[in-house]
Amino acid sequence: MATTKESLLDIRGLEVHFETRRGIARAVNQVDLTLYRGERFGLVGESGSGKTTLILALLRMIKTPGFIAAGSATLDDGTDLLKLNREEVRRARLKRVAMVPQGAMNSLNPVMRIGDQLMLTIREHAEEGEIPNKETQLKQVEELLDRVGLKPAVVRLYPHELSGGMKQRACIAQAISLNPQLILADEPTSALDVVVQRQIMQTLCKLQNELDATVLLVGHDMGLMAQFAERVGIMYGGKLVEVGPVEEIFHKPQHPYTQLLISSIPNFEIKGEFKGIPGVGLSLLDPPTGCLFHPRCPKVMDRCKSVEPQLKEIAADQLASCLLHEEDQHAPAS
């Protein structure tokens, strides 16, 4: 649980563009977001919302034809993740910011034993002249595996000998091996069964508490967000359209997109009612003018077609970017 409101990562004006033959696609569009130390933040969006691009940008893993066009992502000690050079990025990865990817394939080397991979990570990030000996490395690795709920015997196994859930635990072990302050998890359980998913998320939560780290969970499973996250951010078309505490987002969503999204979640209470979001998703190469959501918005006004709304504070800790709220906005923009 986030006990203090210390900022860990401050993202300002992040823009990630993709150059295509048909023009520039703004995959991440003027995103401002603050992540606090020790909190669990859920970033929600559908395909094309930019949520995965955002965390790839933080890890400096955007490949051509994509590039970071503008913005900063400043850690609590003043380091701007987006301005680091290659060597600094390599050091920052895992030591300060770690990623748990969607598929274990993206992070586990299929021809190396789990133990060897983890030991390699420890060696590569050790300070010059301070590389621990083989026994110490092995001990550290076994401790690491224990923390994620894997038996020491896993050290000798190859990734393909592990089940889906165990592979994901191994990925988590690698991610926390250097005690990072920020863990970016990109739909880590989407390929897993519901039962395994719950166990893995509980493990992740326990580890997060131990490390007092911040977890940014990216995904589209609203149920998972409701249960895991303390604060939730909603992205649409590359923009952050709403941010707030999880209870407020689910009970009192302010942005029409969020409202439609929440009401479209199937649940066990109401049967036979199907509420989707009308219209088609937007094209990043030919985005709508003004508010990106206006073609599909049930509360659209004339102004929405020409004016781009900004993210403003509506209630305590809750921000939304919608012109509806600018009508009765008395407090200055935050």
Binding site: S47, D193, V195, M201, Q202, G223, A226, P266, G276, V280
Partner: protein
């Protein structure tokens, strides 16, 4: 009148690669003794639910005649699907249609999406002229909520996932089938479009009288659309009955575990904080090789007698549970779950 489609004790076993010289050849039972029949004149909406590896896609493919069972038969109107002659095959393909999970892979990238709609019309002789064919296509597209002028003549990559999936539903409709087997039709579609697509399927069932077999791992969508549900675990049926009852009052230990593990979209339900009962087995998705109850390895209520596969016990007229905890209830004769569904309270 024989049922439209009947699976009789179908079983699918895969022989894994054993060691080259000596050693055992591992056997994976993808589907173990499954029986279900669908009536021709009484439309039903049945879900086959299970996690990955439960065998649900294997069953779907066997029902569609795309995969041969290792034992047991799949009968179309009383005849073995493998023995059908040319016109029998045609009728089978017209009556039993499918919707697949991936709304991109089902399209040949070389052709416009029209190809997927014109081919069945041509092969099944559904229209006498090009104009008639065009009319039928337009009508089908409108039924699923698409505008023909926005979809026809485009290539698959020019349309969204939701649009592509709806076109595959339109395609299935062209043949006016009696049964549609939908294999995870919304799992690769954005959340906002899922409801719309499920709504189309539900309408087809209610207004057009088409039976559905809905394959999914997502119990919440199953609850929304279907009346009957079958829960699979590692190739075996654990529980079957009316969706409302099975989800609200699960009886099989696995069903209970499943329902408990689903994260509900209501914050603060204790999903993350509550300690799950520690299990004997550390790996919940390890392969299961046993001829007994397949869930016994991780069942908190496992008993000695679970070494033998339990039969179906009818705990109520409309519910069957394959678990010895309910051995006081009468045993289901034969294995056809169809009986169970027919008898359930509406």
């Amino acid at each position: 009148m024989p049922p439209l489609l009947e699976a009789r004790n179908i079983r699918k076993v895969y022989h894994g690669g054993g060691q080259l010289l000596g050693g055992e050849v591992s056997e994976t039972v993808a589907c173990n003794d499954f029986s279900l029949s669908i009536d021709a004149d009484n439309p039903t909406f049945t879900t086959i639910a299970g996690e990955s590896g439960s065998g649900k896609t294997t069953i779907a493919r066997m029902l569609l005649g795309l995969l041969e069972p290792s034992s047991g038969e799949v009968l179309y109107q009383g005849q073995d699907a493998r023995d059908l002659k040319k016109d029998g095959q045609q009728r089978f393909r017209q009556d039993v249609q499918a919707i697949f999970q991936d709304p991109f892979e089902v399209y040949n990238p070389f052709y416009k999406i029209d190809h997927i709609l014109t081919t069945p019309i041509q092969k099944f002789g559904l229209a006498a002229s090009k104009t008639e064919a065009y009319e039928k296509i337009q009508e089908a597209l409108r039924t699923v909520g698409l505008r023909p002028e926005e979809t026809l003549g485009r290539y698959p990559h020019q349309l969204s996932g939701g649009q592509r999936q709806r076109i595959t539903i339109a395609r299935a409709l062209l043949l006016k089938p009696k049964l549609i087997i939908a294999d995870e039709p919304v799992s690769m579609v954005d959340a906002s479009l899922r409801a719309t697509i499920l709504s189309s399927l539900h309408t087809l069932y209610q207004d057009f009288g088409i039976s559905f077999i809905y394959i999914t791992h997502d119990l919440t969508t199953a609850y929304q659309v279907s009346e009957n549900i079958i829960i699979l675990f590692h190739g075996a049926v654990t529980e079957a009955g009316g969706t409302e009852k099975v989800i609200k009052d699960p009886q099989h230990p696995y069903t209970r575990e499943l329902i408990q593990s689903i994260p509900v979209p209501v914050p603060g339900s204790g999903w993350i904080e509550e300690e799950i009962e520690p299990k004997e087995v550390e790996d919940p998705d390890a392969e299961v090789h046993t001829s007994g109850c397949r869930y016994a390895v991780r069942c908190p209520a496992a008993m000695d007698k679970c070494q033998v596969a339990p039969p179906f016990f009818r705990t109520e007229g409309g519910r069957a549970v394959s678990c010895f905890l309910y051995e006081d209830s009468p045993v289901l004769q034969g294995n056809d779950l169809h009986e169970v569904f027919q008898a359930r309270d509406r």
